[in-house]
């Protein structure tokens, strides 16, 4: 049995499930709206609604979206609710720990990464990263820095600071809260890389040709979309990325990089639950089948 934690109508999940159906391999998709329980019976039994699955029958887990969780009953009694919640957390952690013991894609723990830790580890693995700093009051008259939320959020709006999707080039003195400033990196093309258990599928995005998407390709140009084509990473870069993913205990993720006009590879960030459809489809990588094959084997 393959267990897949996901969301309703997630296209990637549906595509992977289609291949599992072709193979005739049993799988269960757990949605965030499902009511989950766990008992010790029969060496551990999961209940997904009325559906019963023994832990020992699960041979692969895909943490596509979410993880094992127990929805707490609210008794409107603060003390009691807190007590039950604390109990549930221990059970949740235990079940997720057990689920991570089998072959898995993603993990219960690795849904979030700390940007600052990632950048530090990337440097330690030998990757080039843009200069960055954390500042309260960034008065430097330097147009070569871009500002991002340190938490990775791309939307923020207040009287003091406005971050417009997704980045703004800083061109005047800027008074902000504690913000993350990253030196703007000139690029020849951007890379979106899907990583799965030591393997890489990369896509080059030629966003530099289009002034509308020069700073970040997510500002789509629908008339003449940026070119997206398959790309092969130099083996030395793959080795450094593998080092990074291993040091972050990530078995999968979406990695963003930049190739500079002098063809240097610069690491930007990793998203542990990144979309792979946007790399798979344009490059015809058929990652949905790769994932189904991985889960099946």
């Amino acid at each position: 049995m393959i267990l897949i934690f996901s969301e309703v109508n997630d296209l990637s999940t549906l595509a992977v499930a289609g291949y599992l159906d072709d193979y005739g391999v049993p799988y269960t998709v757990v949605l965030k709206t499902d009511t989950l329980r766990y008992t010790d019976a029969d060496k551990g039994t999961l209940y997904i609604g009325e559906n019963k699955i023994c832990l020992k029958d699960i041979h692969a887990v895909w943490f596509r979206r979410g993880k094992f969780f127990i929805r707490s009953n609210a008794f409107k009694d603060r003390e009691l609710d807190l007590y039950l919640y604390e109990n549930n957390v221990i059970i949740e952690d235990y079940v997720n720990y057990k689920l991570e013991q089998v072959k898995s894609i993603g993990s219960a723990a690795g849904l979030h990464v700390n940007k600052l830790i990632v950048l530090e580890k990337a440097k330690a693995c030998g990757l080039t990263v843009p200069d960055y700093c954390l500042e309260h009051d960034f008065q430097q008259q330097d147009a070569t820095y871009i500002v991002k939320g340190v938490n990775g959020n791309t939307h923020f709006n207040s009287d003091q600071l406005r971050i417009i999707l997704p980045v703004v080039k800083l061109n005047d003195s800027h008074s902000s809260g504690l913000s993350f400033f990253q030196r703007y990196t000139e690029k020849k093309y951007e890379l979106r890389i899907f990583y799965l258990h030591g393997r890489f599928w990369s896509m080059a995005i030629f966003s530099q040709n289009d002034p509308q998407t020069t700073t970040d390709f997510r500002k789509y140009n629908k008339e003449r979309p940026n070119r997206n084509i398959p790309y092969t990473l130099p083996t030395a870069i793959e080795a450094k990325l593998t080092c990074l993913m291993e040091s972050l205990s990530l078995n999968t993720g979406s990695i963003d990089m930049i190739v500079t006009p002098s063809l240097e590879h610069v690491f930007l960030e990793v998203n542990p639950v990144g979309q792979f459809g946007m790399v798979s489809l344009p490059c015809n990588y058929n990652l949905e089948k790769e994932i189904a094959d991985f889960l099946k084997s």
Binding site: A15, D21, R224, R227, I229, L263, P282, N284, N286
Partner: protein, 369 residues
Amino acid sequence: MTYFKLFTNCIVSKGIARSLICDLQRQSSTLIPNDLVAIITELDSATSVEDLFRQYGAENRETISEYLAYLTENEYGFYCESLEEFNRFPPMSTAFSGSGKITNAVIEVSEDMERNLGTILEQLNGLRCTSLVLMFYRPMDIDGLQSVLERFDGTEISSVEIVTAYHEAVGADFLKNLNARLTPLTSILFYNAPFDRTDPWDRNIYFDVRFSRSNIHSFKHCGIVSAAYFDTNFPKVLEAMNHNSCLHKKIGIDIHGNIKNCPAMETSFGNIRETKLAEALEHPGFKQYWGLTKDDIAVCRDCEYRYICTDCRAYTGRTHIDTGGLDTSKPLKCGYDPYTNEWAEWSVHPLRQEAIRYYGLEELVRNNE
């Protein structure tokens, strides 16, 4: 040294007299001369731009510069500064993949079959067929259409096209009623209409509505090859490069309930009354044409449009049979000549009259004149 790379999602489809760049990302195709194809081939095999100019000599310098400018201005390709960079862009796989035993079905729905449509849809759903064409060779009132569409509740079928006869009651209220609940209906064609018109779906009516003056009372209308039907659709092009662009993963049920690859084909693999669709699909002959690509078909294999065109094996010129007994003749209803790049009316061609008679298409041909 400078190198030039064609963006690997732009595929050159080489024809005998001219060629096509199929831009799979932007889903459009452009005709190019075969001289340019020769240059692209040279550049793609890692000949540097400098060497190319040298090879072609001073007299061709200007032409090559123009070609390169054309390719860069239209974003068909880009310059690489070194062989190392050039080699980092591998060719895109042209494999076609997708799950499901069947992806599309065509049913000629007789009145008898209409009553049992539920069991047919259940079987199609089991095969994970997602799109369906229903042909009704009769007018359908609103209750009839609604009851047909209700049968799709609980299935994964996501796209339904309906072909039915026009009648007086078809109007704005009719369509509004049809739109009253969410169904997988994506398009409806009313033939025998007093006018020709297409109303694309919008916020009020969630499906395309087409009116046609033509009269459709059998599947004989199908199989026409025309530039109007060319489609540079990413997965469809990949499918055409690897499989038959019409018949792959298709199942048809004709008006008599016979299960076929396409309702217009001759060979039946059982009748819906006694045979399950899944059983018919397992018949050794059912998929015989699934792997036949345009590269295997006479004339088509020389045509620049072969990967953006739809094939037809139901109506062919009946001129070629391969060693395995498969009909590899050009589709009968194609009037394009890839050797001269000219279009002509297919039905008046003297060499096609025998095939027209064979399929009993004389009446259809007369009506179109």
